[in-house]
């Protein structure tokens, strides 16, 4: 069984005064298997953020269904939604979304505290993760005291600490310099190899080239997909770039 099943998802936005309608997602279907590392690529306005919001259950699709481990997201009641997200999904955002009133440690604890976990249990969980991400020495610092890369690693730690089924990453390298980006992508590969399923939305070719599979979205549909197979990152990069060129020069399927 797939971990995530997206079936014929459609999203139509209606402008506030009921005027014109905008179709953000036309008909998206794909699935993600456990332990996979999938990147979704597309230009601005192609609907990738809308898709991610729907997957994160922050938004509801106009049509179609999303199943996580076979459970239909639309059947989850609002009251349980926050807890469901907390237990099954981890998020990494482009702008980190760390709380400036919390130390890095407390930022990482946040989802666990919301879940009502005990402090001893939380700190037991934190240590190995902080070790992996190389932020053990920074835990007592506050977000404004550390660099962008360190902030993003903290955000990754926060996503990992609940041991989620799936990590959703929205342009995780978008606000980082190239070195920090490389480090973060290495990290993603590493945690994926340890068995963590990752779904990343990006328009960076380099970021996508680390994934095992890349989906291309155009005009609200999955236009094409690319499997890594045995390719190296460089070869993958090459293939993605070629595909994008074909996409943007308007090649039909």
């Amino acid at each position: 069984m797939s971990l995530l099943d997206v079936k014929n998802v459609k999203k139509i936005y209606t402008t506030r005064f009921g005027g014109s309608q905008v179709q953000a997602l036309r008909d998206v279907t794909f699935s993600v298997e456990p332990r996979e590392y999938v990147a979704i690529m597309g230009e601005s306005g192609s609907g990738k953020t809308t898709l991610l919001n729907i997957l994160a259950s922050l938004d509801k699709p106009t049509g179609g269904k999303v199943y996580l481990k076979g459970r239909d997201l639309s059947t989850i009641r609002d009251r349980e939604m926050a807890a469901f997200r907390r237990q099954n999904l981890g998020f990494v955002f482009q702008d980190f979304n760390l709380l400036d009133t919390f130390s890095l440690e407390d930022n990482i604890y946040l989802p666990l505290v919301l879940a009502g976990k005990k402090h001893e249990e939380m700190s037991k969980k934190l240590m190995p993760i902080a070790e992996t991400l190389g932020i053990t020495a920074l835990l007592k610092k506050f977000p404004y005291e550390v660099s962008g890369g360190q902030k993003q690693r903290t955000a990754v730690a926060r996503a990992l600490i609940t041991s989620p089924q799936l990590i959703l990453a929205d342009e995780p390298t978008g606000a980082l310099d190239s070195r920090a980006s490389d480090d973060l992508l290495e990290l993603f590969t590493k945690i994926n190899q340890e068995g963590q399923t990752i779904l990343m939305v990006t328009h960076s070719v380099k970021a996508a080239s680390h994934a095992k599979r890349v989906l291309f979205i155009k005009d609200g549909e999955v236009f094409h997909q690319l499997y890594r197979g045995n390719m190296t990152n460089e070869e993958m990069y090459q293939r993605i770039a070629e595909t994008l060129t074909v996409l943007s020069t308007g090649g039909d399927r």
């Binding site: 009251r79 997200r85 907390r86 009133t101 919301l114 977000p143």
Partner: protein
């Protein structure tokens, strides 16, 4: 036409912050005008004792004026802070600073014109009402005209134009000195977690403790005046220290307690509160002090007014009283004759009469040596807890007044000590020493006027010779003789009583030597003038402060709402439910809102005892009445407060969502 239009749209677009600001402007204009117009009303001069009232009113005008200026400036600075980003954007879009200044000038012109027009129109309408209320409070029956006062209009317009002009200058300066990028970011840098200032927290706790202690332990009303002032200063210092340092120390302590801190209910609230207190501690302390002032001011003035008849009763225990310093038999006989003649003429009966010669001293009782030291001056030892008013009465006068047949040997005395338990069998006054033959328990004199303020002790001595001697040695100038007092009530028709008392007073002044007399109803109007004026001031200034308090809190919450929005959105993304968000918001706003009120109520509770002593100086001894007034004031205040809390938390939640 571009700039005026732009200015108007800006005001409309920023309604959430501009409407309360405009409301504030209108209200302050209105209040200032009303107060100013009333204080200039010529009709008031017809009343007796109007000078005291006018002085009070003028004070109110000055307070209102200063307050308006400070307050408008404060709210304006909130406004500018909110709009910094907008100003930055305009500059990035290509407006230069001159254009921006033009736009802001137009905005100020529009808001000033609007608030002045509406404020003055409402002011003239409300002024009439307020004036009627004032007259009602003062028990002034004659209907009077309340016209538009051109001078008050002019004063209001000039003052507020000046205020608006200064705020505009301030705003322009803000924009001039900042660069567009800074404006765009508008201070969204991460802030450091505040450090715990243990020393300051300690200072706060100690000063507050001492202040409370002083307020609780002061017994003598006169001493209360000076000590109360010290206590107030200490409590104010304590409040500021505890709000700024104490709150953070407590919150950090909570944070250290991992079991407590890492619970979803406390986690976000505690860390949020630390930052909130860092930014708002001073503001909250201000609100706390202001609320305390309002509560005390209103409860005091209301109870003074409500207890006015009681106070009159205390101040004038009998209907009529005479004091004469010529104690020659002829003079006393003459006075007696006048009283008898006039009461007969008016057809009223004399009751509860007590007339006797005596010598009054101010003394300090030294408990260790069981001895009284006499004061040569007045008031030097008022602050002293051993302070006593000492009255010596010759035996003959006592026997005559009370129809008794007491006898005393030389150096024997009867003691009446209503405020002390008198156990010693001797009484020593400077070098004069008496054996106490008997301690009198029954009331000798009708509750005399200063009895409520200072403790008194009364001595019946064998003859007047000793008293005269003591007076010569220790009496101060003008009071080195015996005096004769005559106090009585009159029974009969009210009008006849009035007439009799007026006639008596006039004849006593004219026909007897060195005498003065007073009666209650003569002072009633002056009492109403004074206490009514104070009530008006209390309510007016109280309302002004309340309005300010409320608006400051509203603005604080709204501007924080915008800051917190981001934070709560992150929390929701990370998995906080809407319910949890709402709960966290509620608990924090609740704290910020009600902490100042709670502390203010605590202050009032601790001040209660001392304030009752102060009220005793103003002849109000009805503690029960004052208690009711205080509780009532607190309740009314709390209701207003809760209303604002409700509106604000709703608005806040809408922003954060």
């Amino acid at each position: 036409m571009f700039y005026p239009k732009l200015a108007l749209t800006n005001i409309k677009k920023n309604g959430k912050t501009y409407i309360p600001y405009l409301l504030t402007c209108v209200l302050t204009v209105m209040m200032f005008y009303v107060m100013n117009a009333i204080s200039r009303n010529t009709g008031l001069d017809q009343m007796e004792g109007a000078e005291a009232l006018k002085a009070i009113l003028t004070w109110t005008v000055v307070i209102t004026g200063i307050f308006s200026a400070v307050f408008l400036f404060y709210t304006n600075s909130f406004l500018v802070k909110q709009r910094k980003k907008e100003f930055g954007l305009y500059q990035v879009l290509g407006m230069d600073k001159g254009n921006l200044a033009k736009m802001m000038t137009w905005e100020t012109m529009i808001t000033s014109a609007m608030s002045l027009c509406v404020g003055l129109i409402l002011g003239t309408l409300l002024g009439k009402l307020m004036f009627l209320i004032l007259l009602k409070i003062l028990h002034f029956e004659v209907p009077m005209k309340f016209a538009v006062e051109p001078k008050a209009l002019a004063a209001t317009v000039i003052l507020f134009l000046a205020i608006f002009f200064v705020t505009l200058l301030f705003n322009l300066l803000q924009v001039q000195t900042a660069n567009p990028v800074e404006l765009l970011h508008g201070g969204h840098q991460g802030e450091k977690e505040p450090k715990t200032k243990w020393f300051l927290a300690l200072v706060g706790a100690v000063t507050l403790g001492i202040g409370y202690y002083i307020a609780q332990t002061t017994e003598s009303p006169i001493a209360a005046i000076g000590k109360f002032f010290i206590a107030v200063i200490l409590v104010i210092i304590g409040t500021y220290c505890l709000f700024t340092a104490g709150s953070i120390a407590i919150l950090k302590g909570l944070k250290k307690n991992k079991k407590f801190y890492y619970q979803s209910r406390h986690f976000t609230s505690v860390s949020g509160m630390i930052y909130r207190m860092k930014q708002n501690a001073v503001g909250l302390a201000n609100i706390c002090i202001m609320s305390t002032v309002v509560l005390v001011l209103i409860s005091v003035t209301v109870s003074l007014y409500a207890g006015m008849e009681d106070a009159m009763e205390t101040r004038f225990p009998t209907d009529f009283s005479v004091i004469s310093y010529d104690t020659s038999p002829a003079n006393i006989e003459k006075e007696n004759q006048i009283v008898e003649e006039e009461s007969k003429k008016a057809g009223v009966q004399i009751e509860n009469r007590s007339n006797y010669r005596s010598g009054v001293f101010t003394a300090t009782y030294q408990e260790k040596e069981n001895r009284f030291l006499l004061e040569k001056g007045v008031g030097s030892a008022y602050e002293n807890e051993g302070f006593r008013s000492l009255e010596l009465i010759p035996l003959s006068d006592y026997n005559k007044m009370k129809q008794k047949n007491e006898t005393l040997e030389e150096n024997q005395a009867l003691v009446y000590a209503p405020d002390d338990e008198w156990n010693s069998d001797t009484i020593q006054i400077e070098e004069f020493s008496f054996h106490v033959k008997k301690v009198i328990k029954e009331e000798i004199l009708p509750n005399d006027e200063i009895g409520n303020i200072v403790k008194s002790i009364l001595l019946v001595v064998p003859d007047e010779q000793t008293i005269i001697e003591m007076k010569k040695l220790y009496g101060y100038e003008g009071a080195d003789r015996l005096s004769y007092g005559d106090h009585f009530d009159l029974a009969g028709d009210e009008k006849a009583k009035e007439a009799a008392m007026a006639a008596m007073k006039q004849r006593i002044t004219e026909e007897t030597a060195e005498s003065s007399s007073e009666y209650k109803s003569e002072y009633r109007e002056a009492f109403y003038m004074l206490y009514g004026g104070l009530l008006f001031l209390g309510i007016f200034v109280g309302a002004l402060f309340l309005m300010a308090t409320v608006l400051i809190i509203y603005y604080k919450q709204i501007s924080e709402g915008y800051d917190d929005r981001n934070r709560y959105q992150i929390m929701q993304k990370v998995g906080m439910s809407k319910k949890e968000v709402r709960r966290s918001i509620k608990s924090q706003i609740l704290m910020v809102f009600f902490l100042p009120l709670m502390v203010a109520i605590l202050h009032v509770a601790f001040a209660f005892k001392t304030v009752t002593k102060l009220l005793a100086v103003l002849n109000l001894t009805n503690v029960h009445l004052f208690f009711l007034c205080t509780v009532g004031t607190v309740l009314v205040f709390a209701v207003f407060y809760a209303g604002v809390f409700w509106i604000t938390s709703k608005e806040y939640y809408r922003i954060v969502q």
